[in-house]
Symmetry: C4
Subunit: 305 residues, 4 copies
């Protein structure tokens, strides 16, 4: 059964079908949630929304159970030690399984807890995160975020401290003239956040001369606050790229270890190139540079004999 | 005839003239379209706009026909197999030919379909895309976009999901207090898009305490949403640059393959340098570094004899 | 006593405890400052705020005195020449000690100078900067800012000059139509800053045709003004990264100096890797690339014998 | 006389004095211009502004004449062929000399042309560009802009085309509902520029459902428009940095050309390091890496004997 749910090296049509259907269902769920909030539509198709919700819950519940049941057949868990039960308990605690659970849990909780159903409905949006299973580019993004988490955290700490300072200063400068906007520091924080992030709604703006002088300074600092994460992420993406290139270089070095290209490594290099997302041109250039280097070394070697 | 329309290695004055005239005509078409929308001008020069439109259509139609007819003489299609008819049919389906067709099609469709002419007029703007044929720097931009398309798509998927979550949350928090702005999720999406992109019109803003707390969080996330594509594109441009440098290095390696610079490769390297957009200084430094390396190897080589 | 305040190689539980408590106290101070500004809360808990302030001042004063007293026992000052008194005087002038002083000074000054206490209160926020002692990622940010200070200063100079030009031009173009917003250049500066930083409140916007044409131009220039620091910081972070990699490479070179890996350098490399923030994968790839290179050289060497 | 105006290798106190005074005078001119526009100040100090203007014009005229007269003594022009008159004519046409002329020309033109003096006054701001002579970091910025001019031009062309398309579409969608904001394409351009640059004043926003759908799309495209120049400039700054590093590497290679460091090149390397803006740490790492490489080669070399 795992073959329908998890990718495998052997091409499996059923796997592709089940995946496509699940992605489609998630998309329909999001559309239904959005349409449901429009009163005119909700009043007419009220019944249809309930039927669709029940169908979705049924399918997602079956999917969740099937994934837990079949997780032991995936290559990752086959290599792990432990009984099938232990593996399934381990899988249940993985992020992807938790997202799957959160997608259906609010519905079942609705039976036990008496609450405003409209608030519960919002949690259906969690289903959109089920998509994260399918995108590889998004996993690259997450990787960059993970690698740069300390720098990004520091950048947002700086943003937070500057926001506090700006809010305090503006509270002091403008609270007498605009008590409706700057009567407390938490209120002034709204202005300082909207300004530092360069969103600038304009619902709250300084009006005194001193307030505008200081506000102008904060808009300039805001440029830096936007530039910091851009710079950190740019550096993170470049690093990911250069690391993948280094990794491919390593494989190339291995292929050239006898001084000339080992033909039998060709298919392995091809697969590695695709997996690392290195372009054809790039790989060809790297290989040719390698060949030149070994020719030179060989030349010296022969001359030195 | 192809000589007037497509660039060739031999300098052809007629080609330059035709190109300049076509670029000029596209520019005039854009200016005419913009002026046409100003009522005061339109009422006075109504007749002139019609004459100019007819002239433009005539020239663009001739250009389109000429390009299809002469495409078989271009170097690219001369290397391809197949009859002239097949080549022309292939050319018609190329992006550049489709843009050329779209530039004139609305006019001819106007004869068959009865519709508000003013809406048709907007399609004339498509003519501006005919310019993409002429700019090489824009092709570099497109290249970077193409290489980074998966990362950019993932970034915009993240933006879309966060926009949905923000709209749902704000709809729940503010729909009772501001029913005119947050009465449905699609309406709340307008706010969340304007905030996440840091545009921040200010026509819709949260007013409740909880709404502003969450809204503030979304403005911070907005910084990340702006930083992501900036980071991806910065890494993409750097990669393009380093790849071109590697390519030039490869050519240099070839030129130095006998241990010293082969003078006959000089003109080839010059052309390559210009094509890859590597500066004079850069190329000179790379070559000198190369020379030093070979001198050292030669030195060792002699010592080892 | 220094063991409780400064990090040391030997793991010291008391050090960790004191640090955690101090960080907590700083956080509570910030929260108290923010809550204090909300009138409803201030009126009820007025007394509590005073008690908490007195307690904080007491602890921070003890901390300040303890740090000055014990600074001579830190590794840095033990290596310095001079008497203990000289070392303490030197420490008092260090940025971290000045921040510590500024955190308590306003309170003591309040006894001597008669002023509005609410303004003095804002200075309590300076305590948040005491946190900079504890974050290593923030020190990386500061390092990048320090390295790129000339470029960033130039970028902000360009911003300043363009802001001046934009304000002058808009003052000339709009002062007759909107005298309430553009009656003087300093007033027009508010508009030009808000526009160039892409904040765009919308409280002041050009309304004449010529004003909007010029204003549109300034919005485009604003993109460049945001892009400049982003580009400078991106390049700065990349440089930091490549320098740390080069540094690790240097240590690797040292470890391989006899042509094969010296096992005894293993723990040193491990610590260096952690300190430089280089990932496990990265370090493993670099070491393997090193090994390949030496194998090749060894191969040539043997052949040349 | 050139010694007071142009930097020279020999330290000249008079040169420093004249420069500082000129920079001060430019700063005072900018402040005077800004204060002059404030009516309350202008009415009281009217006479003083005129005196200061006359003094500034006198000094700048003398400076302009002195620079033209003494340009022949600068190292650059001493190396050039041609008579002193030819050199001076050549200098007059250089960008820096033109800026110097523009700083005083409006005043002298005022005698011949009868026009509103307040408009002429704005041109005094051109004097601020005289500062560009003194900043080296700004010359680095200009260099990056110059190197990336084609990419930046392409990016702004894309911005222009998308702005046109957005304006046309919004004009079609909203002109009937908001004739006061979208009655013509040039009027709609104001909205599309303000949105694409993420400034987002909010004075003009779409109100129809279709208009907001399309407007939301344009805000997303706006993120890309901001990211493009950020990416281009980030890559440009990185390239400048790596080129300077390559250049220093070249000099190091030269210093090591006999297999070990040539001590006599030490001062040259020091000056080069300072000129290229490479940090001490960076330079030390590069040199040590170099030493290791030569030790290894030497080791092989000895073994091969």
């Amino acid at each position: 059964m795992a073959k329908c749910l998890e990718p495998s090296t052997e091409y499996d049509k059923r796997y592709l079908w089940v995946d496509t259907l699940l992605i489609l269902l998630i998309g329909l769920n999001v559309i239904a949630l959005v349409l449901h909030s429009i009163e005119a539509i909700e009043q007419v198709y009220y019944q249809h929304f309930i039927y669709f919700e029940l169908l979705s819950i049924a399918i997602f519940t079956v999917e969740y159970a099937a994934r837990i049941w079949s997780c032991v057949d995936t290559p990752y868990y086959q290599q792990q030690a432990g009984s099938n039960m232990q593996k399934r308990l381990h899988y249940i605690r993985s992020p992807l399984a938790i997202i799957d659970l959160l997608a259906i849990l609010p519905f079942y909780l609705g039976f036990f807890i008496q609450t405003d159903l409209r608030y519960l409905r919002v949690f259906r949006l969690l289903r959109v995160f089920k998509l994260s299973r399918y995108s590889r580019a998004m996993q690259l993004l997450l990787n960059v975020f993970k690698e740069e988490r300390y720098s990004l955290f520091a950048a947002f700490s700086v943003l937070f401290i500057i926001m506090l300072v700006a809010a305090c200063a503006m509270y002091t400068l403008e609270k007498d003239i605009q008590p409706e906007h700057f009567s407390s520091i938490p209120q002034a924080m709204w202005w300082s956040l909207v300004t530092l992030t360069t969103v600038g709604y304009g619902d709250v703006t300084p009006v005194t001369g001193l307030g505008r002088l200081f506000g102008g300074l904060i808009t300039i600092v805001g440029i830096g606050m936007v530039a910091l994460p851009a710079g950190i992420l740019a550096s993170g993406f470049s690093e990911q790229l250069s690391r993948r290139r280094q990794f491919f270089q390593l494989a190339l070095d291995q292929a050239f270890k006898d001084g000339k290209f080992a033909e039998e490594t060709e298919p392995l290099l091809k697969r590695l190139r695709a997996e690392l997302g290195i372009s054809h041109t790039e790989a060809a250039i790297m290989r040719e540079l390698m060949e030149k280097r070994y020719q030179t070394l060989h030349f010296n070697d022969t001359a030195g004999r």
